[in-house]
Amino acid sequence: MKVTLFIPCFVDMCYPKVGISIVSILEKLGHKVIYPEEIACCGQPAFNSGYWPETRLVAEPVLKRLQDSEVIVIASGSCGAMVKKFYPELFADTPLAEMAREVSDKTWEFSDFLVNKLGVTDLGAEFKARVTIHDGCHGLRELGTTRQPPRTLLSHVRGLELVEMTEAETCCGFGGTFSAKFPSISTAMGDVKCASAIETGAEYIVSNDSSCLMHLQGLLTRQGKKLKTIHLAEVLTSA
């Protein structure tokens, strides 16, 4: 299969290992990875801030660059939700409505793609640690397909012990521009999440969304906590 990879802007810049891991997983499974380098950002910050015409300025070229893909895999539930769920809404009643729907139909969040499209559950990884999962809200509730896949994939990782936290499905408080517009609320929410994760005695918070992990790691580092965050793809390529 020819897989077009969408790497979110902040993953490109700050968390390249996530993308590199996904490339190696897909290639190991025998797929050809295509990466449209010109794509920078899905446009979510402008969209969530209410500036839809300005969002289209960013999203339209993205859409056009993705339209000929066989299948699109996104390394984030949040940007995945933007392309899959919100592009059709953003472009409704425009000449690109049809294209937005077509692109939406072939877009997958990474873990969902592995488990539900490819039927892969065991990647032969080994990761000796106790971990807990954070469900990113966009994957969990917008896409609605990403609750089980990360758990299925982690259950086959050797040496890994998964301990669920009470607040697994509670928002980490990031929310994009929300984290800067309402920093104290955002931080309070993040603190609740971190406390719940720490309670499990886990060494790592694993998630399929780097944006949530960026927020949580930012809090944990500032507070000098030992708990670390890691993207699912990196766990799956550990040996």
């Binding site: 990466y35 809200c137 929310g175 994009g176």
Partner: protein, 464 residues
């Protein structure tokens, strides 16, 4: 920033710093989630029940004109009187006129959120009447001269100790830590009020078009006494409360109990169908229903967000909202707090004054998932943001997003970000978390991520 927005930010920040307060709310609401989930599992299929309820509400709201007229006709056939109030002022005038015509003095109220919405108590007191709230939570916040903290649990922010102190001060009671004793203290005061009250004012959870009755759900029995003992009963309700058929209650009553308080059914569910009939031995002599619009029709006209009128005021969205749990109910400054409040308040009270509520969300969608009548709550917040900004953009934000589109669409300029970010990162520690820091909103409490030595794009190019 307008006053309601700056007040919101100030109050929210204060509560986020108050760990004891947040702990209190979070503990209470985590108990709710456990109880609710246990009761949800007693439904044969909760998702199917939600779907059905949403369908019934869709019919009710989309044919509101027909159902309201049917409700009024059926109620008036039994001697009830229906009043149509366009706005809060109109509703207050109607109610005060009914009271004045009876030459009444004292009023007992059971819980009525539309009363909070139109500031009914203040108007009644200004007109010289004494008003007592009979719902225990409402009674407590009335004694404290504050607004309900949660539209289902008005006094959930208070501990037993705080309530005991309040009763000692206001009612002269002995100190106690027992919830039963505290309830008895309030009950002794309230029982005498029911007997002496001339007027009972209630809300309504549902209005049944088919039979012309209102349905009230409660746990304390106070609404029954409020509606049955005084000679006049006035029910104030929003026009969106109407359901087409009596049978619909078979779904909505258990759903309200489950989603609202984690109860299989609320303790008392009563239908009120008019004043005392000739062959009846008790009940009020007069029965009035005031149907309140107060900009609900403005929401009805918005096809995109109309489903917000499906709301049965169960409070489930507040109970699961991570924002509500961390900023508390009073921070909103609205009658209806939490996600549904953030959705409807801009419609009821003006988008530009209340748009900050739609921005004060991480859009996590927990509310939408919890809503028993499937209101698309968090997407409505997104739509309100869009509506607010297309009406009145913030010039610098608009410019910034336009500039961003130029940067994002040019691989060359985009490629320049990395060296700049690296350079910035080198000098950032000098100003980190100070007033000079452009990222202060983030760095006050969090570390920024580091730009990687090799970006993904660089890795990809090298590989090729």
């Amino acid at each position: 920033m307008n006053t309601s927005a700056s007040q919101f930010t100030k109050d929210a920040e204060r509560i986020t710093r108050d760990l004891r307060h947040r702990e209190l709310i979070q503990t209470a609401l985590s108990k709710y989630v456990v109880a609710r989930d246990a009761k949800k599992s007693r439904f044969q299929d909760w998702e199917e029940a939600r779907q059905t309820a949403a369908g019934i509400k869709w019919d009710a709201i989309n044919h509101l004109d027909k159902h309201l007229v049917e409700f009024a006709k059926n109620l008036e056939a039994r001697g009830g009187k229906v009043h149509w109030a366009g706005n809060g002022e109109h509703a207050r005038e109607i109610i005060i006129k009914i009271i004045a015509d009876r030459e009444a003095h004292s009023i007992i109220k059971s819980k009525v959120m539309t009363g909070e919405e139109i500031h009914l108590n203040e108007a009644l007191e200004k007109a010289g009447y004494s008003v007592v709230e009979s719902d225990l939570g409402e009674y407590i916040v009335q004694l404290r001269h504050e607004a309900p903290y949660h539209f289902v649990f008005p006094a959930m922010h208070l501990t037993r100790g705080e309530i005991s102190e309040l009763f000692q001060k206001e009612l002269g009671s002995e100190p106690t830590d027992s919830p039963e004793e505290l309830t008895m203290i309030a009950r002794r005061v309230l029982r005498s009020k029911y007997i002496t009250a001339d007027i009972g004012i209630s809300g309504a959870n549902f209005a049944i078009a088919e039979t012309g009755m209102i349905s009230i759900t409660e746990n304390e029995g106070n609404a029954r006494l409020t509606c049955a003992l005084p000679k006049v009963h006035i029910a104030l309700m929003g026009i969106e409360k109407v359901l087409p058929r009596l049978d619909d209650l078979a779904l909505f009553l258990p759903m309200l109990g489950t989603a609202g308080a984690g109860q299989m059914m609320t303790c008392y569910n009563t239908l009120y169908g008019g004043p005392r009939q000739i062959d009846e031995s008790d009940g009020p002599e007069e029965f009035h229903v005031v149907l309140l619009d107060n900009h609900r029709t403005r929401l009805l006209a918005d096809a995109e967000q109309r489903d917000a009128l499906h709301c049965i005021r169960c409070g489930a969205c507040l109970n699961v909202c991570p924002i509500y749990k961390n900023i508390g109910g009073h921070s909103y400054g609205t009658t209806y707090q939490g996600p549904v409040g953030c959705v409807i308040t801009p419609h009821l009270r003006g988008l530009q004054d209340w748009k900050h509520l739609s921005f004060a969300s991480s859009l996590c969608g927990a509310c939408t998932q919890a809503c028993p009548v499937k209101i698309d709550l968090h997407h409505h917040l997104l739509q309100s943001r869009r509506n607010a900004r297309s009406q009145k953009p913030v010039w610098w934000e608009k410019t910034a997003f336009k500039m961003f589109s130029i940067v994002a669409n040019s691989p060359f300029i985009w490629g320049m970000i990395k060296p700049f970010a690296r350079l910035g990162q080198m000098f950032h520690p000098l100003i980190k978390a100070t007033r000079l820091d452009p990222a202060i909103a983030w760095t006050r409490s969090r570390e920024l991520p580091k730009v990687a030595p090799q970006t993904f794009k660089e890795y990809w190019r090298k590989r090729k």
